[in-house]
Amino acid sequence: MKLGNVSRYLQIAPLAVLLMAFVVAPLTLVLVVSFYQYQHLIGIVPDFTLVNYFDVLTNLVNWKLYLSTLKFTVFTLAITLVLGFWIAYFLVFHVRNILIAIALFLVCTVPFWTSNIIRMISWKPLLGKYGLINQGLMSAGAVDEPVEWLLFSDFAVIVSYVHLYTLFMIVPIFNSMARIDKSLLEAAVNGGATRWGVVWNVILPLCKSGIALGSVFVVTLVMGDFFVVTVMSGGLSGSVTFGIFNDLKFLNYPRASANAVVLVIIVLIFAAGIMRLVDVRKELTR
């Protein structure tokens, strides 16, 4: 390439500047504010203190919120991983016509481009006490009284997460599976591998970058969620963001920031752990 380094930097400058302004600077300020003091009626006082972190880490309610978030994350990750893997596998290795595979792939991705909030509330007429599922169960005689735990429960929260976020798993796994050279599979079979052997020893290792990327998306989306948990649990379950939200209501930015920092650290540990399995940049740009 004759393109000099100067033009390369010009090409990347707008991205770099915007990311500095709207990702790095805000996060740095959150970190700074988390060490500031909060005084009732006055607000933020720029004076160094560790009291916000002390509050966040010693609050029993907060620990429960973290545990609850962790529970949702683990369940959602497990379900979306299994679903995403097998759906991508079906599309890539079982659908023989490439155009049909692309069409089915688009069928899976279209909802991603529509409103999450609308998709979330669309479960209400189905899961509610007088919703479609309960109506069906009652008329089939399976239950005498409406099943109460369908809506406003952990079940509803996990259903919504799976509904909203499985796409984030399917797309990267599909992308890495589609790059697998099919002759490798034939070679494995000729070498005596069983069907499951091929899946386990050939396909799974070759799409681990997709799995890693999808997992990072799902983990961060679930851990940062406030709205699904609020609506679908009806306030019965909480998430870490509840604590942040409550502090924001009283304009306690320092403690909200400290809590946010702790959350970001946990998310980054998760992400770094997953990313260690693969060199994401090499996989993405190769």
Partner: protein
């Protein structure tokens, strides 16, 4: 029979996974379709089935100011915001994607900044941007702080898509163009851009829809005037009529229009390419 063969009878796993796929599609679309149907409830209808008559009552209610807040106003902000975000995302992430094709000093710093933009929870960024604006003495507005918040999410996404698109671009085309005497600009505008154009449409689609539907990042940064997702969120807490579903139907029609235009133009380009390829 094994996975990956393209002939012979289908293995039993095909039927098993086809069944799973159908269930998944039902799971994906069933709830959405049910609220579209419910949005046509008659005037006495409620939030659940059965349908009590058919009417456009709830669509009328939606645009009658008094009942449901400022839907028209929210829409008149969300649409231009999404369009500007889309344009900015396309220009910036295509340029950056091209730059990333070679390693250069500082490239991984920018890459990791983009990755952090993807990974950090939207709510945290929302707080951060609000605090930054307060710190600078600026007011949060939908066209200022919310625009930046949307870019913090659409740009990394656009960049990821450009990575996927450009990694499939065969460098021999560019070399061939250069051997024939093309300048850098000609290689870019007449070889690279036309080849990756479907990918650029995909970036535009993501830029538009991610901004148009973005909620957590808009939440604190939007200022006094709401965008559509925030307005919908407010409605979920205080509107208990099918008007809420009517709004869902309206915004989904807009989303579907955008998706259809984007996918349709990609399909059109691909078909024309095949035809031209055949003619030669």
């Amino acid at each position: 029979m094994t996975a990956g063969t393209s002939h012979g009878p289908r293995p039993y796993t095909f039927y098993l996974l086809a069944g799973l796929f159908c269930l998944f599609v039902l799971f994906l679309y069933g709830p959405m379709i049910s609220i579209y149907i419910l949005s046509f409830q008659g005037p006495t209808g409620g939030l659940v089935f059965p349908l009590k008559g058919m009417s456009l009552e709830w669509f009328k209610a939606l645009f009658g100011q008094a009942r449901t807040g400022d839907i028209g106003g929210a829409f008149s902000r969300s649409l231009p915001l999404a369009l500007v975000t889309m344009a900015a995302t396309v220009v910036i992430s295509v340029a950056a994607g091209l730059a990333f094709r070679k390693q250069f000093a500082g490239s991984s710093v920018v890459f990791y900044m983009a990755l952090i933009g993807l990974i950090v929870p939207g709510l945290v960024l929302s707080i951060g941007i609000l605090v930054t604006f307060k710190f600078l003495g600026l007011r949060a507005t939908w066209w200022g702080s919310a625009f930046g918040a949307h870019l913090s999410w659409t740009l990394p996404f656009g960049l990821l898509i450009m990575f996927a698109v450009l990694s499939r671009l065969n460098p021999e085309y560019e070399e061939a163009a250069r051997d024939l005497g093309a300048s850098n600009w000609q290689v870019l505008s007449q070889v690279v851009i036309p080849i990756v154009f479907p990918g650029i449409i995909a970036v535009a689609l993501f830029g538009f829809t991610l901004s148009y539907d973005e909620f957590p990042r808009s939440w604190l940064t939007v200022g006094p005037r709401n965008t559509l997702p925030i307005e919908i969120w407010t409605m979920t807490t205080n509107v208990t009529s099918p008007a809420l579903y009517a709004l869902g139907t309206v915004t989904t029609i807009i989303s579907f229009t955008v998706i259809a235009v984007a996918l349709g133009s990609i399909a059109y380009i691909q078909r024309r390419r095949r035809q031209i390829g055949r003619l030669r």
